[in-house]
Structure formats: C-alpha cells, structure tokens
C-alpha cells in the first residue's frame, strides 16, 4: 500500500457518518430524550408485526405506527389506573385478574374485551347454579 502523496490530512468527517464522531447536537426544542413524549416502552417492531397481521391493511405511515403503539400504551395505563382502584380499596398490593376484569366490565369503551377478560366465576358457584337449574327443570 503506497502512502498518500500530497493528500490533505483527511478529516474524520469524511468517515464520520455512522462512526459517531459528530458531536451530539442539542435538541432545538429543548426536550432531551428523557423528557420527550415520543419515547415508547413497548417495542415498535412487535407492534408493527401485530398491525401487519391484518390482511386488509396495505400501507401504514411511520407516524401511524407510532400513534398506534402509543395509543396502546395509553390504553394499558388507563386500564391499570382503573384496575388499581379495587386493589387499593381492599388494601392489597398485588394486582389480580379480578381487578382487571372489574376494570373491563365497568368501562363501556372496553366492551370489545368483554369476552376475553370476563369475571371468573368460582367452580362451586357454577355447580350450584347448574344444580338449581336442574332442580327447577325437574319440578316444571
């Protein structure tokens, strides 16, 4: 390999792209990564996978991907807030299934989850109901 002749000292900037030698530029809005509302906890990639499972969906803008992911986070947080009420009122510190089912049944907008997160009925109660129904039928 021959040495460069009269080459000017190559600035790292030639190669800077992607090597991280550029100084970090302060955000114009003053919002650093820690205060930005655009941060997601859920993985965007996984959300995209779920979105694309809909065969009817053709194209989705990157903003829309983000919007759906963020909306899902906000919904989960709203559900958490509601589910926390019965938990706190009973003085518990563990969020149980029943708390979530309670949140679903008391919030009309969550009707689409009604079949997925129903109130659990203890087997004993179901058995009693079945026996009672049977007895009623026998009498009739």
């Amino acid at each position: 390999m021959e040495a460069p002749s009269s080459a000017p000292a190559a600035e790292p900037q030639f190669l800077a792209s992607g090597t991280g030698t550029e100084p970090a530029q302060p955000s114009a809005t003053g919002d650093g990564p820690s205060t930005s509302k655009a941060q997601l906890i859920l993985t965007l990639g996984r959300v995209k996978t779920l979105i694309k499972e809909d065969a009817d969906v053709k194209f989705v803008s990157s903003e829309a991907y983000f919007a759906i992911a963020k909306a899902t986070e906000l919904l989960l947080e709203a559900m958490t807030e509601r589910a926390a009420q019965p938990m706190l009122q009973s003085g518990r510190s563990q969020l149980g299934y029943g708390d979530v089912a309670q949140a679903v049944s008391s919030w009309q907008s969550l009707d689409f989850l009604g079949d997925v997160i129903p109130h659990k009925i203890p087997a004993g109660v179901v058995l009693q109901k079945m026996l009672a129904a049977k007895a009623a039928a026998a009498v009739a």
Partner: protein
C-alpha cells in the same frame, strides 16, 4: 369486517410489567415507595388486551382511511379511529406525543442531510484519488467517494 387472525406475536410480558408497575406507583391513592406486584393471570389479561386493541384500532383506522379514499393509514386516521371507538380521552396525550415524534423525525433527517452535505463539500475536485482505506476506513468504504474518484480518472 376483517377475517380473524391467528397469531403467535405478543407484546413482551417484561415490557408490559414495566409499564404497568410504573403507572401503579403514580395512581391516585397509591404509595409511590411501595413495590406493587402483578399476578401472572392479570399480566396475561393485559397481554391479550394489548393484542386485541391493536387489531381493533388498526382495523378501525383502516376503515377511516378507506372511506377517505386513501391508501396509507395516517396518524390522523388513528386519532379519528380513537374518537370513533370512544377513546377520545387518550387523543390529547397522543397528539402531544406525535408532536415530539415529528420534531425528532425532522431533526434526524436534518442531521442526515447535513452529514451528506459535509461529505460532498469535503471532496475536492482536483485532489489525488484517495483510497479511504489508507485512512482507516472500516467496513463500508463510501461508495460515493469511489464513484467520484472513478470520474476523475
């Protein structure tokens, strides 16, 4: 109505847990120092809820987009869908998040453009062909530099 999808994809439990726990400590009446737990059945319920909500919101936004005779679902379609589904209460926060998202996207593409510009200005038209590998270029040697050098020959 869209056909039902059978899927193995889920929102990772660990991330859900983080999200829920963070919210629990800020809920009204909660003790912010206490470490609240989530029963595994409750976590499963949240996981299902997340998956179904994403499909539900996507399908609705898709309908909104179709009705407007467009091909690409936009953020506005998502906002409209949320209102249609009675989730108007999250649209305020979502709109703010979208503003930050757009600002950051603009800055990212600005940085990219500046990076490209610097590369272009750095190249002097009359200098000797420089093999960038002599300067320790690792991996991808910039194609644009090689192209321009070929022209100089």
């Amino acid at each position: 109505m869209t056909t039902p999808e059978v899927t193995d994809a889920e929102i990772p439990k660990a991330l859900l847990k983080r999200l829920i726990k963070a919210k629990l400590s800020t809920v009204a009446g909660a003790d912010p120092t206490r470490d609240y737990q989530i029963h595994k059945d409750a976590l499963l319920a949240f996981q299902e809820a997340a998956k179904i909500f994403i499909h539900y919101l996507t399908a609705t936004a898709n309908d909104v987009c179709r009705d407007a005779r467009r091909q690409t679902i936009s953020a506005e379609d998502v906002l409209t869908a949320l209102n249609d589904l009675d989730f108007g209460e999250v649209t305020g926060e979502l709109t703010e998040a979208l503003e930050d998202f757009r600002t950051e996207a603009r800055e990212k593409s600005k940085k990219k453009a500046e990076g490209k510009k610097r590369k272009a200005e750095g190249e002097e038209p009359f200098c000797v062909h420089l093999d960038l590998r002599l300067f320790g270029a690792q991996g991808k040697v910039e194609r644009s530099c090689i192209g321009r050098s070929a022209v100089l020959r």
